[in-house]
Amino acid sequence: MRPEPLADALAAAAVAMARRFASGATMWCLSPAWPEHGRHLAVEFVHPVIVGKRALAARSVDPADVTDLLGLARSGDILALIGPVGPAADGLLRRARPRGLLTVALGPRPPSPSPSVDYVCTVDEPDLILAYHVLWELTHVVFEHPGLLKTGPATGPEACVTCSDQALPAEIRTLRPEGTAEALIDGRLQTVDVSLIDAARPGDVVLVHAGVAISSAIETTGAS
């Protein structure tokens, strides 16, 4: 069998997704260009075609309601993006990791800003339905291995805080005196030092390394 990069990508995403589902995640499915694919992905998980497979919480979101997701999605949830997402989803993508969302993208090209996406499955449109079918099938295979659902990092591969040069996106929630702020990092509120950066405001997404904000805002669409 020839090597299939799509198979590797789907397998990696399925493990991460199954772990999230096992912890009670809801998967939010967004496909601004091809909304029917977002709905198809969601119904696969909610109403499995194979009798006896567990129903998993998934919901497609109308492309017009992208920003509603910031209120709907909870830390630990999954954000599935299908096809071109366009600039409307940029803000959502930049806030996804601070808010503790796992992001999985399927489509011909990785969405931008792609560094915000945890798992990218590159697939052309004619194979898109196949890709999310296999993603569903693999997710349920992982469920047959409960011991493996509990181990490993709770978030995506790029969120490892033990790496020495790792900077994490943080969403500032409340500014405090003396150059500190309460910020969401990976779904948890933490105190960060914002004294090195200019004019941070609530709602800004900044990069934080070792508890210190080291970049000015990479996303500034205001508080939400």
Partner: protein, 218 residues
């Protein structure tokens, strides 16, 4: 969270830690499914070529005379119906063609389902919208969806052109006089059937566009 069958494997699965082995299995399983899907699609398109030719030609003629196309399906097939309507309406190339998916309007769907029954959600819409020269295409994997079968019967009564997509052995859509053209995916996997059906609808669309191109009309 434990599986209902967990008691059959006390402690063993709970202690499983070899993620690498699982990932290897997953990659292999995914590769096999991808390969199977590709070969099934190629075989299906080959086997259905005569039906695609006949249906595509008949549909092109209807489009040329102002005919409109209605798509329908349930669940994942409902979304495939929506995708097909998008392909005909907003083609990557060729002539945009008037198509509607009958699953799009929740007010109509829930009104009909609540007041009359789910079996009639498409048939009543076909009766309301179907005019001379129109067409109906229905996606089913089993070929047994009652609401599609009722809609095909309604369409046939109104002399609409009907195209059915089904899997397995075609179910009640096979040999059904209300289904003029049957595109059959010989598989018993719902997922592989839907994947092949998406290839069939692209072929059908391409055939329609080809025939329209030959007529030279805008």
């Amino acid at each position: 969270m434990s599986e209902p069958t967990g008691f059959l494997y006390p402690f063993i699965e709970e202690e499983e830690r070899d993620l690498g082995a699982l990932q290897g299995d997953l990659v292999q399983s995914a590769s096999a499914k991808i390969e199977l899907s590709h070969s099934l699609r190629a075989e299906t398109v080959r086997a259905c070529a005569p039906v695609i030719r006949a249906a595509g030609e008949a549909m092109a003629e209807r489009f040329d005379h102002g005919g409109r196309l209605f798509f329908m399906g349930n669940g994942g097939s409902a979304t495939d119906a929506q995708g097909a309507a998008r392909l005909f309406n907003h083609p990557p190339q060729g002539r945009p063609l008037p198509a509607v998916s009958l699953v799009d309007d929740p007010a109509i769907l829930t009104a009909l389902a609540n007041d009359i029954g789910f079996d009639l959600v498409f048939a009543r819409q076909v009766a309301a919208y179907g005019k001379d020269g129109d067409m109906v295409v229905g996606f089913s994997t089993s070929g047994e969806s009652a609401n599609l079968l009722r809609a095909f019967e309604e369409a046939e009564r109104r002399q609409l052109l009907t195209v059915g997509l089904a899997g397995y052995s075609g179910g009640a859509m096979a040999g059904n006089p209300a289904v003029a053209h049957l595109l059959l995916v010989r598989s018993d996997s719902v997922h592989r059937i839907q994947e092949a059906q998406s290839a069939l609808i692209r072929e059908l669309w391409a055939t329609v566009q080809h025939h329209l191109g030959q007529t030279g009309r805008p």
